[in-house]
Symmetry: C2
Subunit: 328 residues, 2 copies
């Protein structure tokens, strides 16, 4: 089967690419061709045993979206988006990329399928940012998405369009509301959520990290490996079981900062904890207080989605995948 990954250059895109090439297929179907697209061409994976094409593509251009749809991939992973902070800072760019890109893709697939029955599985990465406070401590599956950011709005609209295009038979869509992914590898970034990763990532290599919020702050997480697992499961799922509601809150892990630090201590010892510097930041604390803390995810569990076993497992996964098994 031919798989197309849009936004393949990002962290999840690269992990997904590696996982698909390692598995050699999806479910019981062998992978025969892989196309990787992003605004700048993603790196060509080393030593792939199947043809892999990496290309630069601005999905929000309808002509580009048409060329991507014309590839007739059986499965399309649509991860392409600019992040929350950038979509908030640049209103036009956020709508053009995050909503215009999704609309252009859906329309291109519909046009491609107008002559025959081309109707690919489309896995859309939505986000827990579709929910905004106030909400219950544990958000049920049928709670109203009422985003508090333009990014969340663009994702929530994408979910609605995915439902309607799927109901009409133009695509076979599944939307996954990704939890906050920890531990993000690489350098600290300036996202308000960045500290959730950095308070683990930096001490694991002997570096100090700043904690801007109280330790009882609770949030909703998954590891990079769990995120990839949600996406590949979404690609192979029997969508008849989804009905008309194509987007899912998936089983992340609800944990506090204290839970994160306890896991860090169990994996890396008490010296790692001494690298945490508490610097309360009211702005960050206020932003984070508007974010979801826990989800029910009953539907996704019933559909066979599984997340991380524990925060210890999340920390160990990072040590294994990014640090060669060594804690610094």
């Amino acid at each position: 089967m031919h798989i197309l990954i849009l936004g393949a250059g990002g962290m999840i895109g690269r992990k997904l690419t590696a996982a698909l090439l390692a598995a050699g297929g999806l479910g019981d179907r062998p992978l025969t061709r892989l196309t990787l697209a992003d605004v700048t061409a993603p790196p060509q994976p080393a030593a792939a045993s199947i043809p892999v094409t990496a290309l630069a593509a601005d999905l929000s251009d309808p002509a580009v979206a048409a060329r991507l749809a014309a590839l007739r991939a059986e499965v399309i992973f649509h991860l392409a988006a600019i992040v929350s902070g950038e979509a908030e800072a640049d209103f036009d760019k956020g709508y053009r990329i995050n909503l215009g890109g999704t609309t252009a893709l859906l329309e291109a697939i519909r046009a491609e399928g107008a002559q025959d029955r081309y109707c690919p599985r489309l896995v859309f990465t939505s986000s827990i940012a579709v929910f905004g406070a106030p909400f219950p401590a544990r958000i049920p599956d049928d709670f109203a998405p009422q985003p508090l950011t333009s990014y969340g709005t663009q994702k929530a609209v994408g979910e609605l369009l995915l439902n309607d295009y799927s109901r009409r038979g133009f695509v076979d869509g599944v939307g996954i509301r990704l939890p906050t992914v920890v531990i993000r590898p690489g350098a600290p970034n300036r996202a308000a959520s960045g500290f959730f990763s950095s308070i683990l990532r930096e001490p694991l290599v002997g570096m100090e990290a700043v904690l801007p919020v109280p330790r009882e702050t609770r949030h909703w997480f998954c590891s990079p490996r769990a995120a990839v697992g949600f996406l590949t499961h979404a690609a192979t799922l029997d969508t008849a079981a989804l009905g008309t509601r194509r987007s899912l809150s998936v089983p992340g892990l609800s944990a506090t900062v204290a839970d994160e630090l306890a896991a860090l201590e169990r994996v890396a010892g008490p010296k790692a904890l001494r690298l945490i510097r508490e610097e309360p930041d009211e702005t960050v604390a206020r932003i984070v207080a508007g974010w979801p803390q826990d989800f029910d995810a009953t539907r996704a569990r019933a559909l066979g989605f599984t997340g991380d076993a524990s925060f210890d497992a999340i920390v160990r996964q990072h040590v294994e995948e990014e640090l060669g098994g060594k804690v610094g």
Copy 2:
């Protein structure tokens, strides 16, 4: 104040126009100018005491939307839409008019306000069609909109965009999820919901009407006058009280077909009931079974929205406004 009504040629648009001209203002602000727009120019109201302009305008054309925004009306009522059945039959037209029109309007207002602080009150007619089964018997305010039609999808997306454009300060939006309006004046139409009106309207003038569903069928209603009241209240409301959730389920009337017919009998006597011909239609019954039956509407009630007192009042309103007070 200058008021602009988009979709002024429709049933609600005409009733709203008449109500605004009769009241001479909105809240405590006098009406000084009225602009009526629709795909074909709406009729010029007779004997208006203020300047009224009626014009033909396809809102989905960005240049047209820009010209409408340049009028700088203080209040814009956006009622323009093609109906559910047509949006389902013609996918492209539905998205162009119902979503493209709303998007073009929001963008035109944002562009108009980019130089200064133009930020009109925008009253958007959403619909209970944003909700699709399964849902609880009584739908709470924070239940997820999961439409089962393209029309409902277009309205639900409009609600999300209205929130985000309002949050960013580009418009001051309020969305009203209109219940099914009964008694619609005029000839029977072919909407699946048409019988809710015709089983009252036709017997009131001595004509037979077909009832295609069981008498225990429950649905959510408001009169034309209540619909206009919801819209004018939305135009004068203090939106600070709305917070970031700009769309509201309003206090309609939950009633069964049996309730409707009992009201008919009380107003028009037992002879009216003998004009009801039961012709069960499984297709209509199945469609109607997927529609909302009752809403909580707690937020809207707290914000001062009021609906119809009873179904008797709805029937009497029709007799008074459309039949000159006479039951045939």
